[in-house]
Every structure is written in structure tokens, then in C-alpha cells.
């Protein structure tokens, strides 16, 4: 059956180039980078080169600012817990209501452990209330944590400006940015920002799952999360995952080379899909309303129909997407991001996210635009809200 993969914010296909780059390190080049002989030297050099590629990818000033981790969640935990451990006298954190669960739940946990957390709102377009954020900064603020791009709606938050303004208010406050959904989708230039730490995950830009990185600006003190050997300059113990580090660097290099394609062709496909759905399907409403968005993501709500059912029917046609509906997650709670944005219940449960990648084709978009209207029509027919739907479809 045909497969149309429009869930690239969940994970991506591994780039063939990334796979090819890692294979030697899964077979012949198995040396431990810390050992002394020539075999190990090859692994060591591979990591060194990968670190340079990653620094270039993130726009870091120095490859030493890159720490390899196992995933985005580890990057976030290392950054946040590491910085709080160093600044133990400060007990206030500022973050947003729309962070990814891996960050959100970290702050909920810290709240239980005695930290006070300010949760910043978004408006109905999904844009952040920056005034509220800056007013919340106090001398006791240890950390400001804002994601760069939202995973559900694709909204980009101005983290560069936020970091600058926060440092004006309190130069001691550290700024962590969850950059997982931004890396590979928009250009990054961290050396020219005041951001102290920036976390990414390889599998969101065509590297395999199980590898991530954390940028830590030179001069930023960080207590390690994983204690053990001297790897990663003492900031993350554990033998380096050489093959995956090499694969992530290869994927990062490709993503950088293809950035123009992402910003033009992928964006045009996303726009075509979005406009097509909104014009063909009468009960469709746009949730991704911000002017600042990553080029690959759209989030659309279908009024009076339920999201899981849409996804199940899409799956039967070979189309993969995801939903902010309560029923698709184990928690049975509808999306906290869309709720923070004030999306009404009429379309909240029927919200679908489509996220493209550079492997998405014109054909994929056309196929989706052909299948989706019939699916929605079928589900509309069984809805108990016939009166309301008649109003919309008249």
C-alpha cells in the first residue's frame, strides 16, 4: 500500500547518507575513543569531526560547546538540572504553558521539589506573551526556558530577543532553549545570541533515534546529570555512541545543505496542503495561526469530529499524521498547547497535525488532498451534531 508520511515532527526517516556514514562504526571501526591505539584514534577523530559539524550546524562559536547526549529529553534534563544545581540559592524558573512534555513535566517535578515556576501564556494565535515573561523575571530567577519552535503548531518563539531582554533584567539568569523542533528546519546562529543552552534531538532531522546534543555556551557552569568518566569534558559521562554521533553529524550536514529546500519547496507544499484542506473541507479551521512558523508544520481542527477517528481512517489510506485529541494519547487529556491557545472544544478534539519533510513530494500532498475530504464527510455523517454541522456546511 502507498505510504504518505506526514508526521515528521514525531520522528523522521533516517537519511540514507546518515546510515551509510554510521555503518563502518558498527562494523570495523569499533575502537573506544578513549583508548590509545590507532583503531581507537579513528573513532576519536570521527567524534572530533562530528563535533565540528554540529557546531557549524547550530552556529556555535566553538566545537567545545557541543555535548553529545542520547536524546532531546536528556539534553533538557542535563541543561536544566545541571544549571539549577550550580545556582542552588535561586529558586525561581520561568517557562511557557506550551512546552513539550519532556520539559513541561521536568518543571512540574521541580515545582513539587520546592521551586516556584511562572508559566507564561500564549494568545489565540499561539504567540507568546513576552511582556508577561519579562515582568516575571526577578533577582531570584535561576532559569528562563522557552522552546524555539512548538511541536504541535510549528509556532516559532523569538528566543533570541527573549534571551537578550532577560539578560538585561537579570544578567545572572540562565536561558535554556528546547530547540528540538527548530533544528534542521530554520537556520541557527547561536554564537550571536545570549542563549546559554540549546537542546536538540537527531531523529527529528533524519538521524536515527537515540542520539541528541546540547549546546552549552563557553563559560557556562553545568553540573553533570550522568556522573562517571571524563567523556564530554566531564559534562556527560559514558562511552561515546560513535556510530550515532557520526550519523547525526551526517544528517546535520545534509539538513544544512538542504535548508533552502526546506524554506522554499517544503514550505510551498505545506501551504498547498493547508490551503487545499481549508478550501475543500468546510468544517476545517486553522490552529497554526502565527505568522512565525517553521516551514513544515500545519495544525488544523475539524469541527464536531473526533481526531483519533480521522487518524484511523487516514491510516487505512496509508497516510500518517497525528492528533491533539485526548483519545490518541495515553493520558486521555486533549492537547495542552491548543488549550493554552484557547482553541474551542468544537474543534479541539478534532485537531490534526501534518508535518512534512524534505522527502515529502507533490504527489503525497495531492494524494492527501484527494483522500481527506471523503474521510471527513464519512465521519460527519455519524456525528450527533447534525444541526450544528448543517449550519457550517450550508
Amino acid at each position: 500500500m502507498k505510504l504518505v508520511y506526514l508526521d515528521n515532527n514525531a520522528t523522521t526517516k533516517v537519511a540514507p547518507e546518515a546510515l551509510e556514514a554510521m555503518l563502518p562504526y558498527l562494523t570495523e571501526e569499533y575502537g573506544n575513543p578513549s583508548s590509545i591505539y590507532d583503531l581507537a584514534h579513528k573513532s576519536n577523530t570521527a567524534i572530533k569531526e562530528a563535533r565540528e559539524v554540529m557546531a557549524d550546524f547550530l552556529g556555535a562559536g566553538d566545537p567545545k560547546e557541543i555535548i553529545f547526549t542520547s536524546c532531546g529529553s536528556e539534553s533538557a534534563n542535563t541543561a536544566v538540572k545541571g544549571i539549577l544545581e550550580i545556582n542552588r540559592n535561586k529558586k525561581h524558573i520561568i517557562t511557557t504553558k506550551v512546552e513539550h512534555p519532556c520539559v513541561l513535566n521536568l518543571y512540574k517535578d521541580l515545582e513539587k521539589k520546592g521551586y516556584s515556576v511562572s508559566w507564561i501564556d500564549v494568545d489565540t494565535n499561539g504567540d507568546l506573551d513576552i511582556g508577561q515573561l519579562l515582568e516575571s523575571v526577578t533577582p531570584d530567577t535561576a532559569l528562563v526556558s522557552v522552546m524555539m519552535a512548538n511541536n504541535e503548531t510549528g509556532t516559532i518563539y523569538p528566543v533570541d530577543k527573549i534571551a537578550q531582554a532577560v539578560k538585561m533584567q537579570n544578567p545572572e539568569t540562565k536561558v535554556f532553549v528546547d530547540g528540538v523542533q527548530a533544528a534542521g528546519k530554520i537556520p541557527l546562529d547561536l554564537k550571536n545570541t545570549k542563549i546559554d543552552m540549546f537542546g536538540i534531538s537527531g531523529h527529528k532531522f533524519h538521524a536515527p533515534k537515540g542520539i541528541g546534543a546540547l549546546y552549552v555556551k563557553s563559560g557556562t557552569m553545568l553540573s553533570p546529570l550522568i556522573i562517571g568518566g571524563h567523556q564530554e569534558r566531564g559534562k556527560r559521562a559514558g562511552t561515546e555512541n560513535v556510530p550515532y554521533i557520526v550519523a547525526m553529524a551526517a544528517a546535520a550536514k545534509l539538513a544544512k545543505e538542504n535548508m533552502n529546500d526546506e524554506l522554499t519547496r517544503v514550505k510551498a507544499l505545506r501551504d498547498k496542503l493547508e490551503r487545499g484542506i481549508l478550501s475543500k473541507i468546510k468544517n476545517a479551521v486553522l490552529n497554526s495561526k502565527s505568522k512565525n512558523r517553521v516551514p513544515n508544520t500545519t495544525n488544523i481542527g475539524f469541527q464536531y469530529v473526533e481526531g483519533e477517528l480521522i487518524l484511523l481512517h487516514l491510516n487505512d489510506e496509508g497516510i500518517c499524521a497525528s492528533s491533539g485529541s485526548a483519545c490518541t494519547s495515553g493520558s486521555l487529556e486533549p492537547s495542552h498547547v491548543l488549550r493554552a491557545q484557547g482553541v474551542p472544544f468544537t474543534s479541539l478534539h478534532g485537531s490534526i497535525r501534518f508535518s512534512l519533510s524534505r522527502y515529502t513530494t507533490q504527489e503525497d500532498v495531492d494524494y492527501t488532498l484527494e483522500k481527506l475530504p471523503a474521510i471527513i464527510e464519512k465521519i460527519v455523517k455519524i456525528s450527533p451534531f447534525q444541526k450544528e454541522l448543517k449550519e457550517i456546511f450550508k
Binding site: 520546592g114 481526531g307 477517528l309 491510516n315 455523517k381 450527533p384
Partner: protein
């Protein structure tokens, strides 16, 4: 993705008996838009009490549609008395099972049916239940009795702990205020120490559990101050110059205080 049986897949793909019945003898409803689930059921009942026709309309997930669809198949041609014996487990079984998190979808079918009969008979048809057997959380079919058991017997103190035990309150959350009332009534309150008792307890743990251990290495510990949950201590004797002092404080002293006094205590060393 949930693991749905082939039966569930078949029924959400091609649901049976979709629609409404004009001049229905009974109409039942369950769920609400805000919860992400709503079901309406229409029944045609003849004078012998046989359900001649049943139709449904559902706003909901795959299993909600599947359980509505199979329910209509289960009741058409049956006598009301038989139909009233159908439980939500029967509905789930007819679908070759539902994922545990999705059981509330079958409950909804059952609720709508009850609502339809209430509408048909007037209130007398409503089964009377003892107060304790009353269902509080309709999503997961959890009774008042079960929630009280979770609090009293299993020691749940918060809504989250109750959710972990029997899922109650984890669905549409309409029952959360009721669960909170039960928590207020039945949960054991933590004995709150006043500041003086708190400091005395810390000191006692330091004297009995910690000082002796440190003394083995000719070291000692002094309590300097307590601010909130931050406990300021000074290491004395050989401990004061020990390179591993920070490790000792974190791994041993703080762990002891967290275990015996308060799990949120932070140890801070004063030089």
C-alpha cells in the same frame, strides 16, 4: 497507536445502524462535546417490549464508534428486560476486547441505553443502587466504594495517586470535584510539624543517625540554620577538610534527612 482488535476495526470502518429514527420511542444520550465523546441512541420499541430498530450517532474515537455500532447489533430484536442485563463488559467482549484506557467508550454506550430507558419508562425504570455502589467516574466505571478503598486501604492522598490505582478522574474529569470531596473526607492528613518541631526532628536525626557514622572517621556535624526546606550544616573535625565531604553530605546526610524528616530537604554546607 492503540491495539485494536479486528472486530473494532471492522466496526469503526463500516459502522452499522448509523443515523436516527423519526418518531423514536426512546432517545438516550451520553457524554459531551467538551469530553471528546458524545453518543445519541434512538430506539423503536413495540408493545411486546421488543426493540425493533436501533440507530446511533457518535462523536468520538474509533472504539466509541465501534462500541456504539456493536451495541445496536446486540439489542435489535431483543426484549427490553434482556437488554437491560447487558453490561459494558459484554459490549467490550463482543468487540473481542478494548484497550483498558478505552473501556470508558463502552461505558458510554451503556449509559446512553440507560438514559433511553429512563426516557421510555419515566424515572421508575431507573435502577436504584446503594449509595456506595454509585458510579462516580463514568469514564472508567469506578464506584464511590472503589475510590474510598483507594484512599483508605491503598493510602492515596492525591487525585494523581487515585488515577494510578483505578484510573478514576483520568478521563473527562467531570467527576474530579466529587473525588476531591472524597479525598478531603477520607485521606489521612499529613501531621504538619511546626517550625520548632521540624528543627528538633532534624537535629535528632543528625545526632542519632549521622553523627555516629561521621565519628567513625573522627568527623562531626553541626546544625547551623534551617530556612524553609534548606538545612544549613557545618562539617567539623576531619570532615571539614575532606575532599569527599560534598558527596557525604548529598548521598548520606541529605538522604537520611529526606527519609526520616521531609523528602524535600536540601542540605547546604556552611564553611
Amino acid at each position: 497507536m492503540w491495539e485494536y482488535s479486528d472486530k473494532v476495526r471492522e466496526h469503526y470502518k463500516n459502522p452499522k445502524n448509523v443515523g436516527f429514527i423519526e418518531n423514536a420511542d426512546a432517545i438516550g444520550e451520553a457524554g459531551a462535546l467538551a469530553c471528546g465523546d458524545k453518543l445519541k441512541i434512538y430506539l423503536k420499541i413495540n408493545d411486546k417490549g421488543i426493540i425493533e430498530d436501533a440507530k446511533f450517532q457518535t462523536f468520538g474515537c474509533g472504539s466509541a464508534v465501534a462500541s456504539s455500532s456493536i451495541l445496536t447489533e446486540m439489542i435489535i430484536g431483543k426484549n427490553i428486560d434482556e437488554v437491560r442485563k447487558i453490561t459494558n463488559k459484554d459490549i467490550a467482549d463482543a468487540l473481542d476486547g478494548l484497550p483498558p484506557e478505552k473501556m470508558h467508550c463502552s461505558v458510554m454506550g451503556h449509559e446512553a441505553l440507560e438514559d433511553a430507558f429512563k426516557n421510555y419508562f419515566g424515572d421508575e425504570g431507573n435502577k436504584t443502587q446503594s449509595e456506595d455502589k454509585k458510579i462516580i467516574c463514568n469514564c472508567f466505571n469506578v464506584s464511590k466504594e472503589d475510590i474510598i478503598k483507594a484512599i483508605v486501604e491503598k493510602g492515596a492522598k492525591t487525585l494523581d495517586e487515585i488515577k494510578e490505582i483505578n484510573y478514576a478522574g483520568g478521563g473527562c474529569a467531570r467527576c474530579v470535584p466529587n473525588i476531591k470531596m472524597l479525598l478531603d473526607k477520607y485521606a489521612k492528613k499529613d501531621e504538619k510539624l511546626n517550625p520548632v518541631q521540624f528543627i528538633l526532628k532534624i537535629n535528632k536525626v543528625l545526632e542519632t543517625n549521622v553523627a555516629g557514622e561521621l565519628g567513625k572517621d573522627s568527623g562531626g556535624i553541626e546544625l547551623v540554620n534551617v530556612e524553609g526546606k534548606d538545612v544549613y550544616v557545618k562539617l567539623t573535625g576531619t570532615c571539614s577538610s575532606c575532599k569527599n565531604a560534598t558527596m557525604t553530605l548529598k548521598n548520606f546526610v541529605e538522604a537520611q534527612l529526606r527519609e526520616h524528616v521531609d523528602p524535600e530537604i536540601n542540605i547546604i554546607e556552611v564553611k
